[in-house]
Amino acid sequence: MLTFETRLDKIRETKIKQTEEKIKRFGRTLDNDDKGIISPPEDFKFTPKSNHENGGFYGAKVCGDNFRELLECHPIYIDPMSSLAGGWMTMLGYYRNNPWKPEFSFTHLSEEIKKYNLVTGIGANHHFCADLTIGLKLGWKGILEKIQYYREKNDASHGEFYDALETIVLGIQNITKRHANEAKKLAELEEDPEIKRSLERMFEVNNSLVNEPPKTFYEACQWLAWFIILGDMYNGCSDAIGPIDQYLKPFYDRDKKAGILREDEAIFHLACLLVKNNSYYQIGGADKDGKDMTNEISFFMLEAAHRLKIPTSICVRVHDRLNPELLHLAVQYLFQDKKGTPNFLGDKATTQGFMNNGYSRELAVTRYKCGCHWCAIPGREYTLNDCVKINFVAVFQVALGEMMKDASVIPSYEELWHRFEKHLKRAVEVIAEAIDFHLEHMHEVFPELVADLFCHGTIEKGLDATNGGVEFYNMCVDGSGLAIVADSFAAIEQRIVREKRLSWKELMMHLDNDYKGAEYIRLMLRNIPRYGSGGSLADENAKLIINIFNKLVKEKRTPNGFNMIPGIFSWANTIPMGEAVGATPNGRHAYAPISHGANPDPGFKESGVLTSMAAAVASVQCNYGNAVPIQLEVDPILGKDNGGIENMEAFIKTYCNDMGGTLMNLNILDKKQILEAHKDPSKYPDLIVRVTGFSAYFAALSEKFRQLVVDRIIEG
């Protein structure tokens, strides 16, 4: 007889098969969130309608029409082992071959974007958070009525926007209906009584959700599954979920009171939800009075991920009064499952940090963890989190090159800092202009139609979230390559200025030659007390870089008056950003990846890496609410020893509660296994690693990316 456990085993097997199929079709290049995408049938075809001579499609009307079209032709997907219908196979965003409307030219910024290797966020989408309570309360019909109500209230100039919203809701209702009918058909054919009943319930639930808002826990999970699938099919906006334990608590309480939901069934539905996409969920955290928000669903989420054992992204929001049992279970499963989940957000530093922008605590506590390294206020805040980056290494390179070419100055350490700050200032200004440019035009390019359905103000005002539809605009500005620059400054100070082992000219020659024939020089520059070693010049430099960066980002708003929030970026751009810059004075070779997040450069220390890194990263927090994450690779043996789990709990609590840490990602990885898997990934199809803010199947990563993970583990 099939149990929830055996059904989950089969769901996992299917998931691994689907991943292998994706690798076969697209190669080992899935250097991103796994996202739960399923390969479409070979004969699946979709051609979006274009409204531009370049073949692209721009603006609310055509985006809405195209999405409706995609919804209509998207294959039906039902895994009879799952309780939740649907699965996504393609995204409208993938068809944006000409993503930016050429009439909106930003060539005036291009040169400096290239010069500083900036990722401006122009044309980037989602990376803020919808408020799902809106959808859970209204259901699709309710949302349709809301659109119709506000269409009447606003003038005709908003008509296209409302048309687009309306057309996609109709498409959503239709795809839900198609799945309900398919579930019914499958139920009729099914012989196993357990699965037959499950498919019948799937039909009932989906049939009801076409119009009605969810009433039960099961229906709420199915509704959330649809949000995830539809968000992914549009532009990926459903990566951001946020406080799932708060969203589902009322449904759970109601069902429990009515005696219609057992705990293992609730956990099973949540596991089925987790398969749809490894979206970002927060559990735990404190309310405005500091009271812990942990509830049954918080535990169920950990349990669901534990039973499922696929890549998931659950974050425990750690604070002084967090339920100790939740933290204990989180750490226990982290070590037991070795899937890189959950990770841990420091409530104190993120909440207080956001308040440093001038916001109240009441508001700050509603800014939930809902992205790989970021938080957002669901439905009320537009952020472009994760999409805007400054490559500190490129800025450093410009400063060094300019100083050495300037015949009017004698090269010096102080002069280099001065020029670094000058160019970082300009890089921040270019970013600010680019943010304004994006906010000015994005609604005419690719509006956030799906997320707009779940915001406070978008439907009411008839405006896209990128165009004034929401209340707060707190635009992310992340720095990258902190360790490289901190160490480079330190290497120059020690080897050139203090010890005079090398001249400035010789340094430039070695950098230009990528240290060819000068391995001794390279190692000399590399062997200095680096950022992370504690109390070193490089440690001080890292703090100074953050202080300068903070000052430049916070000293003024964008020209159009939008608030910017500094942070440090965590994600995969370490490879392309490295490819954009030459050799650096810290002994890094040209085009090698830049350092990861706020982490010290691998190999910075031979032992005691964990607390050293924690102390280093805690000291470079930006303190405005956006994360400066730490990524730690931990030997599984640490959790096995007597008291190991408790020590790790203490480590996390200290970092989050006492040291001002914002985000901690942990990988529990066996060195030997990861080396074997790197050699032959196909031998380990189910090995999961936390790459950074997200977890992924190791086998699905490209070789370069796998190498990054391996380097971090081997070199510490």
Partner: protein, 286 residues
């Protein structure tokens, strides 16, 4: 005041309770055949060589005044070559450090100690061979609110132990072999003083964790464990007994020091062997 230290390991979780920083003193008066820290033995800084890391830059030859590169006999351990070697093919084992410098590093992780009930451990080598430095740094550590532990083999005059008692919260006391002649064979010294000191220490109030490295062919017999139990069972300050399985992770260090690894032919423990021996201590009233 300076002490000779060969390593300071932060985030140590194997040398006492909680998250700790372990300070390894250099110099030991035992010569245990299985020692996994051979660089801890000599009471002076010395050179370790890792030829596979050598890039052939020749800087070590330039730095050496004694033409000792490639000729170990001529080497006086001045370690100039290690300072010139950036590929870390030559590294220095042991450094004279100021008390304040060691303490500053030990205090860096204070917030982790507080939450995990950890602290600082002084290990070796034999830390009590630098008793004045040890006493002072223990005193300062206590003054700074740190939990202190001393990992000792106990082969020192009782007075040395007595001197540090007021500043030590926990002893990690190593017991190798109960049979005296076997102890001599395996460590180069008698265990008489070690056991006498333990007897004395066991009746004081400072907590003790007994640590037994379990070495096949040396002390992995039930008899040895039973004799150990018999000796410690009435000592009131013993908190627990830890059995540490033999491993060969230190082998490459012997090579780096140019000395033969005495435990080369020792076998590793079989699965379950430690657990079986551990049963002896399960009835110990702690």
């Amino acid at each position: 005041m300076k002490g000779l230290v060969f390593d300071i390991q932060r985030c140590s979780v194997h040398d006492g309770p909680g998250i700790r920083t372990t300070v390894f003193f250099k110099g030991c008066n035992l010569r245990c055949l299985w020692c996994h820290n051979p660089e801890s033995v000599n009471p002076f800084p010395e050179l370790q060589k890792y030829p596979d890391k050598c890039i052939g830059c020749g800087q070590c030859i330039k730095a050496c005044k004694y033409e000792a590169v490639g000729n170990r006999q001529k080497c006086i351990n001045c370690v100039e070559c290690a300072e010139a070697c950036f590929s870390r093919a030559r590294i220095l084992a042991g450094k004279y450090m100021e008390l304040e410098e060691v303490l500053e590093i030990a205090e860096r992780d204070k917030s982790f100690y507080m939450e995990s009930k950890g602290g600082v451990t002084f290990s070796g080598g034999e830390p009590l061979l630098q008793k004045d430095f040890l006493r002072e740094i223990l005193k300062e550590s206590k003054h700074g609110g740190l939990h202190t532990a001393v990992d000792t083999a106990g082969n020192v005059p009782w007075e040395s132990i007595e001197e540090i008692l007021p500043y030590t919260d926990l002893f990690l006391y190593d017991l190798k072999v109960m049979d005296e002649s076997k102890h001599k064979e395996a460590t180069g010294v008698s265990n008489k003083r070690i056991l006498k000191n333990l007897k004395e220490l066991g009746n004081r109030t400072t907590e003790i964790i007994i640590r037994i490295p379990v070495i096949p062919g040396i002390n992995n017999s039930l008899k040895n464990m039973e004799e150990t139990l018999d000796f410690i069972k009435d000592l009131k300050s013993i908190k627990s007994v830890e059995l540490l399985p033999f491993h060969k992770l230190g082998e490459s260090k012997y090579e780096s020091l140019g000395i033969e690894y005495p435990a080369k032919d020792f076998r590793l423990l079989e699965k379950g062997e430690i657990e079986k021996l551990g049963i002896v201590f399960s009835g110990l009233h702690l």
